[in-house]
Symmetry: C2
Subunit: 542 residues, 2 copies
């Protein structure tokens, strides 16, 4: 009886794969799949590889939106089917580097002097990639510019993001990133930031840079090119790059270059991993192997959650990044034949060994409704380590906890996949990003869904927009009769007759509750029992 | 047809509950439960309330570890069954305040001057509570001490946490928090931090404070009380407080008080919520209602994941905090009658509306394997807001996105619970913490499990410890024959004969791979095909 339970050496020899070109290894020996599974899936994988080849060749791989899917061209422009696209990719990279050089050299300054900070205003695909890279590769006080992020429309959150920059706005470069140019959270953040500049007598436009589609359909593009107050620069996004796969476009490269990170290394790692994951022999292709692992463990229908556990503090944004990449790509109601399939894989996690002290209790003993993706980084740190016990370093403990946890889970029939990187740097981060992008693409093709659209996101936006309409209408009714108290039901009835923006009494109640909590609105609440019968009235704005 | 789908006013009037004592409301109208469910569960809930009453009265509520469960006494010492416990709670709070005053007033200084920073070294229950509070209530540059955290044994992560403090160690207070005093990650972090102090000619003990059990069984307690170099202070933890419910003990109060936060408010909010959630009428008790919501939606066996979405940036640590509180408490193999039940509820989430741009696509369209817990905060910010559209603020958008998203999910049959706070402050944060603690306790009693132990965590620790043993043995074999190359299989065979620390070839391979990636070890790898046949040899430490 071994102290450390394992699957056995023979199983490990079969299911452990190294890819030295990418400083990467993949261990599938802790999956409970039968030996013949990979061979058995060779036939469906042929179709999958053909699909991916067509996609990379420029086919309309996102049929709903009638778009090409070109994120693989971002790191190998020569692959783009259209020479104009190839040139656009090359130009954008050159412009990013040239701009970063202008900023670092001090040729381009803010109103108070050389730029010291870069504030990224964006959300979703326009924030998670930049956050992942900044966090994984950033070097604290050695960074050329200190990165900060504003990724929501929370007023208090905006105050909080701006607070440490208040005295340095004149030396802060603001990157506003929105592909469509119309994302409300980003627009709101930008307006609040611009107001902060104005309040200090600074010109926002002299500190502002946009990343958006070059089209007058983007209000961000129009604003950045306003002849009265043009922004410093505008970098392109293209409709053939999705937000969640945009980290190797200007969206990810520009903040990284400004921070002083190695964007050539990032692109090289992604490019090299693309070469590897283009192979049509499954056992030689880590993305194909991972896609099959996902398929087997979740029965091709996401029956198991994916717990992402990188044993490296720098990768503690990885799980959130993958949450978006995987869930937004795979979480679909319909397949490509328009059948209802309700696909997806739920993704969560933070970092090891920290999370062992949070929920590994449940992973080992509780519901067996997950598989773990361990991410191991072999190199502990740049310098030498002290001993924390004779002959043992903190890094040995980290490694021991990873191996110990996967053994303890395996012993209880909990599956895992282990990705190993020799070290964490720009190159291997690029590799990781490209590996998961490709795995998602292959898995989506395998289960026959469109990984490149997000039709379910619209409904929430439309409902939110309707709610803002109801809010204005509610406030209109209240203001028309100052001092008069209305129940939510009475207000709702008024709206039915007076306004097209009808919301039912529940929505009206929720809106009034929010109004009454913010003195600026002038709305007051008189409590009643039951609380749903409370009276709301307009007094005066404070 | 309404623009905003809802459950209807009648349903809302039944399932919307306000608790003004706690500035709290709970909306269960978006659950798909039948109207009579709460009444139907009244009988089992009687047993649950009796169990909770016994627990609060000092019964051995954690039978495996034969311990009392006393976190409710931390905010109302008079409830503690033993006057010694009550006095200990009161004394600890007074000592925390007195110590914070000493530090803030400058009466107690570091070697380089008044303390400016507080570095918390801890993991799991000794980190997540302090992080939650620091993040939710912190005020950036207005904080009395700037908080930082070291919550892992990642060498690079330790370097990263220390980097911004390097020049300020002499003005940094280090809190080392470990109930048992023997958590290896915390011990390692402490040793690395102490080495950093030493390397600058500073005395670590003059900047160090411990929070641990007052017992010689705690190596941390012994170290902090070493007569040669006693630490500044030692604060108590008790065996009747679990790590994941320790945030209202010195574990959470000390860092918060040092940061300058309102710990009286935090305790008052928790105490007030305890009063509320002690009620044995389900509809008057928000924790009982939540426990029934969890029970219904997951069929009493955690069939649905819980997605935690606070629409407030300051609460972006909440999901991680709840992940620990809920999963470590509920994720159990055996019930109290020793039957195999594999219980649990998987918890994940970050914040809204940010996450709408990440995975709400899957929530609305994909797998229906979850319910959402929305956390709404009505007050947008302290000051006034600008308009981002005529009559509309950034906070209106945040509110609109919350209401819009839950409507869009509801429309597709996805369930949710909404918690509403009037504002976010120390009091309501205390309320939230106590609410979830009590909900977990009630739910655990309902499904008949021990919520207060974590037997599954030990296996991983033991396996990790075994791996460290194998590592030392492997290095011993390699060093005994410098320059000689061994395969993992050969090394494993050597260990079988020479050492009790036997690991199979897979574990040996993984250990060697880690050794060879860190030059300090002197181990080199000669690659082979297949990679599992690579040769490892000891050359010389670099």
């Amino acid at each position: 009886m071994k102290a450390v339970p394992s699957s056995g050496w023979a199983r490990f020899e079969t299911d452990y794969h190294e890819f030295p070109e990418c400083d990467l290894a993949l261990d599938l020996s802790r999956l409970s799949w039968e030996p013949g599974y990979v061979a058995q899936m060779a036939k469906p994988m042929e179709r999958v590889f053909a699909h991916m080849k067509a996609l990379e060749g420029g086919a309309i791989a996102n049929p709903d939106e009638k778009r090409q899917v070109g994120h693989y061209w971002l790191r190998d422009a020569a692959l783009a089917p259209d020479p104009t696209q190839a040139q656009a990719v090359r130009d954008a990279i050159a412009q990013v580097k040239a701009f970063a050089h202008e900023v670092h050299s001090g040729a381009l300054k803010g109103q108070s002097g050389e730029f010291r900070n870069v504030l990224v205003v964006g959300i979703g695909g326009s924030a998670l990639g930049p956050q992942l890279v900044a966090n994984a590769l950033g070097d604290g006080r050695r960074d050329r510019l200190r990165p900060a992020f504003l990724d929501n429309t929370d007023p208090d959150g905006i105050d909080r993001a701006l607070q440490p920059l208040r005295e340095a706005l004149g030396r802060t470069l603001v990157l506003v990133i929105s592909k469509s140019g119309g994302t409300p959270e980003t627009r709101n953040g930008m307006l609040e930031v611009a107001a902060a500049y104005r309040s200090q007598g600074l010109e926002f436009a002299r500190h502002a840079v946009a990343v958006t589609q070059f089209s007058d359909q983007s209000s961000l593009y129009r604003l950045a090119n306003d002849s009265k107050a043009p922004w410093l620069r505008c970098f392109p996004m293209w409709d053939w790059v999705g937000g969640r796969t945009s980290v190797t476009s200007a969206v990810g490269l520009l903040p990284a270059a400004l921070q002083g990170l190695d964007i050539d290394g990032l692109l090289a790692g992604a490019r090299q991993c693309d070469v590897l994951t283009r192979r049509d022999l499954v056992t030689a292709n880590p993305a194909a192997l991972m896609a099959l692992a996902w398929h087997h463990t979740g029965g091709g229908r996401g029956a198991k959650d994916m717990v992402v556990l990188p044993y490296k503090d720098r990768l503690d944004t990885m799980a959130r990044y993958l949450q978006q990449l995987i869930m937004e790509s795979l979480g679909k109601e319909l397949d490509l034949d328009q059948r209802v399939v309700n696909q997806g894989i739920a993704v969560y996690g933070n970092k090891g060994s920290t999370d062992q002290h949070a929920y590994v209790q449940q992973l080992r003993e509780g519901l067996n409704n997950f598989f773990v993706t361990f991410i191991e980084v072999l190199r502990d740190r740049e310098g030498a380590s002290i001993e924390v016990e004779p002959g043992i370093t903190a890094g040995d403990f980290l490694n021991g906890f990873l191996l110990g946890t996967r053994a303890a889970l395996h012993e209880k029939g909990r599956e895992s996949v282990t990705l190993t990187l020799g070290r964490l740097d720009a190159f291997t981060l690029g590799t990781l990003i490209a590996l998961f992008e490709r795995t998602v693409g292959l898995y989506a093709a395998l289960v026959n869904i469109n990984a490149y659209h997000q039709p379910g996101v619209e409904a929430g936006k439309k409902a939110a927009s309707a709610i803002l309409g109801v809010k204005s209408a509610v406030l209109g009714v209240l203001k028309a009769s100052p001092g008069k108290g209305f129940t939510a039901e009475a207000l709702s009835a008024e709206l039915e007759t007076k306004s097209r923006a009808a919301g039912d009494a529940e929505v009206v109640f929720k809106i009034c509750q929010h109004l009454a909590a913010n003195p600026q609105t002038g709305v007051q609440r008189t409590h009643a029992t039951p609380p749903t019968r409370s009276l709301f009235s307009y007094q005066h704005a404070s």
